[in-house]
Symmetry: C2
Subunit: 337 residues, 2 copies
DNA sequence: CATATAGCTGCACACGTTAACAACGAGCAA
DNA sequence: TTGCTCGTTGTTAACGTGTGCAGCTATATG
């Protein structure tokens, strides 16, 4: 069917070995024959069979980009930035295979022969077994976004806790003391980190915590809406709400305006992530920027270097989160800026 | 290094052929030996080398999901829904390789040996050469989202034109006659289809078209903001704006509120796509639902059936777009509902 | 002149798997 | 007994590529 190096060899009157070497630019081959063969290959529209190459070279040319899940809890923006970042780096040197870890019933198909390297975009501790599996098989590995415990890997994560601290601190400096939190999905590590940032900021400024002000969400729009509806029924309504991501903030704002209240006039709302649309909402959302695309890009670059040098490093690198001040918070401190 | 069928054969005291047959559940093999070998394979943690399998079976187990671009013009929601839809269908029978077509300088690496099938999520005519290439190589192929001309393929597309017609018709029935359009990215086919739907509705109801009301955008937030800013400077401001996607609608609303005007009080705004966040904006956006996830799912299913039956169909299937009425349009017809 | 050397090419095998075909023993019929 | 069939297993080649080693020729070296 398709043309192989043997076909080229026959036509060029040489052995297939010579063709192989010519196409791989081996220094052993005479310059003239090399060019002749390459010309011929181009004419015949030859494309190497990567399955055969993979077999003998023991390289698959595949990189895996694994998400905790592709069903719920992974926002579109997150997926987008991650794929974009990785894709930019690997160019067309590798195939990028995208999967949700929870789609696997067994990890059988994930192994050294099938993947030259793996990027785990981890959002939840449910990945732990997968990460341990990959680490044990000694597949070059980079784990992004979630900080990993108990297993030594290359780990690149945004400093969620600090970001949460910064934005809650900001609310406090704007005079707020009744600050509620709408939390993310239960077993996501990010949920915990952001909650801790919230708590630490509150404690640092000696603002009392209240259980009434602590609402559970799951990172999606509806859950933000529901949680905010709960908060609005409190006798002692909060003056500001820290939503653990922008999607929930959007849902919360919806709930507030439905009650004929205004943001930030009556209640201030802040988010986390800095989604693409957050600057365009009304009011524009004050939030925390989390550099997912940058992390993806640098993670992919690290992985490539591991594969090429056949050496891996194992450390945890934090990436700065950054306060993005827009319009969804009002100053209620009475004149003091 | 890793365990092969030959290793198993040696331990079981049989030939590697027998092992291969046992693991592939061949009827030729005695039930007892079959079970013995399988047990042994499980104990040894055997995983087949898919590169070798691929070579001899001439199947790569790879499916390609190709987007026009991953850089600009592809919204996060679109990417998300497409990947989710396809992923759900293929389970772990195939690897899903995600790429932007514009990342390729040459299509060399895309061929029958490397891909069992290809899904093109086409947004722009710039894909045309890629689609023709894939069709010529006779790789099982499904082209989604954009209607293709000049080349016979399986083509599944949302009925954009009808969707645009419906929403503009809706604006007209709500009493609007000064209706502007903010168009999408220049060479995207969807841009053209939506513009046509707009024009046909206007003509059907004998509403005059004005060049002033025709603005160029490129499907992103900023372009919607800019285009709307232009429209607001017109002496004879439109009373309603049809934005060719929800992102631009969001940008447009931003521009309107910045001028201290309200939506829909002063100007009605509608979008297209029904993004996840559109129902949660303030005001909730009236828009057109485009069933991308459904198309992806059915497209993937079709592709799998092509691969398995080794027979391809070639037709164009339209998927219903659907008007989603929310709160961003006001009735100005003076009492007549 | 013989011999070493550099430059280039081919032979033969390997990678791990599947599959066509041959082969073997048991059971059965003639 | 012979011959045939059935059920099971092994032999061998094939898929398309890369590579260690041997071998060839022409040139340089002593």
């Amino acid at each position: 069917m398709s043309v192989t190096i043997k076909d080229i060899a026959k036509l060029a009157g040489v052995s297939h070995t010579t063709v192989s070497r010519a196409l791989n630019d081996s220094p052993l081959i005479n310059q003239e024959t090399k060019e002749k063969i390459r010309l011929l290959a181009a004419e015949l529209n030859y494309t190497p069979n990567y399955n055969a190459k993979s077999l003998v070279l023991d390289r698959s040319y595949n990189l895996g980009l694994f998400f905790s899940t592709l069903h719920t809890g992974t926002s579109a923006g997150f997926l987008y930035e991650a794929i974009k970042g990785v894709n930019d780096v690997i160019q067309d040197r590798y195939n990028l295979i995208v999967r949700g870890i929870d789609d696997y019933t067994s990890f059988h198909k994930v192994n050294r022969k099938s993947y030259d390297g793996i990027i785990v975009m981890s959002q939840s501790a449910t990945d732990q077994s997968f990460i341990e599996y990959a680490a044990e098989l000694e597949i070059p590995l980079v784990v992004l976004n979630r900080q990993i415990e108990n297993v030594q890997v290359m780990n690149m994560v945004p400093d969620d806790k600090r970001g949460a601290y910064l934005i809650v601190e900001y609310l406090i400096t704007q005079g707020h003391r009744q600050i509620a939190i709408i939390e993310g999905k239960q077993n996501f590590k990010s949920t915990q980190a952001r909650r801790e940032g919230y708590q630490e900021a509150m404690e640092a400024y000696q603002v009392p915590l209240s259980v009434d002000y602590q609402q559970q969400g799951n990172y999606d729009l509806e859950s933000g809406h529901m949680a905010m509806t709960q908060l609005l029924q409190l006798e002692n309504r909060p003056t500001a709400v820290f939503c653990c991501n922008d999607d929930m903030a959007l849902g919360a704002i919806k709930a507030i305006t439905e009650k004929q209240l205004s943001v930030p006039g009556d209640i201030s709302v802040v988010g986390f992530d800095d989604h693409i649309f957050s600057g365009f909402m009304t009011p524009a959302l004050t939030t925390v920027r989390r550099p997912i695309e940058q992390i993806s890009r640098e993670g992919a670059a690290k992985l490539l270097s591991f594969i090429e040098s056949k050496q891996v490093e194992k450390e945890t690198i934090f990436f700065h989160t950054e306060l993005v001040i827009r319009e969804s918070v009002t100053n209620i401190s009475g004149g003091i800026q």
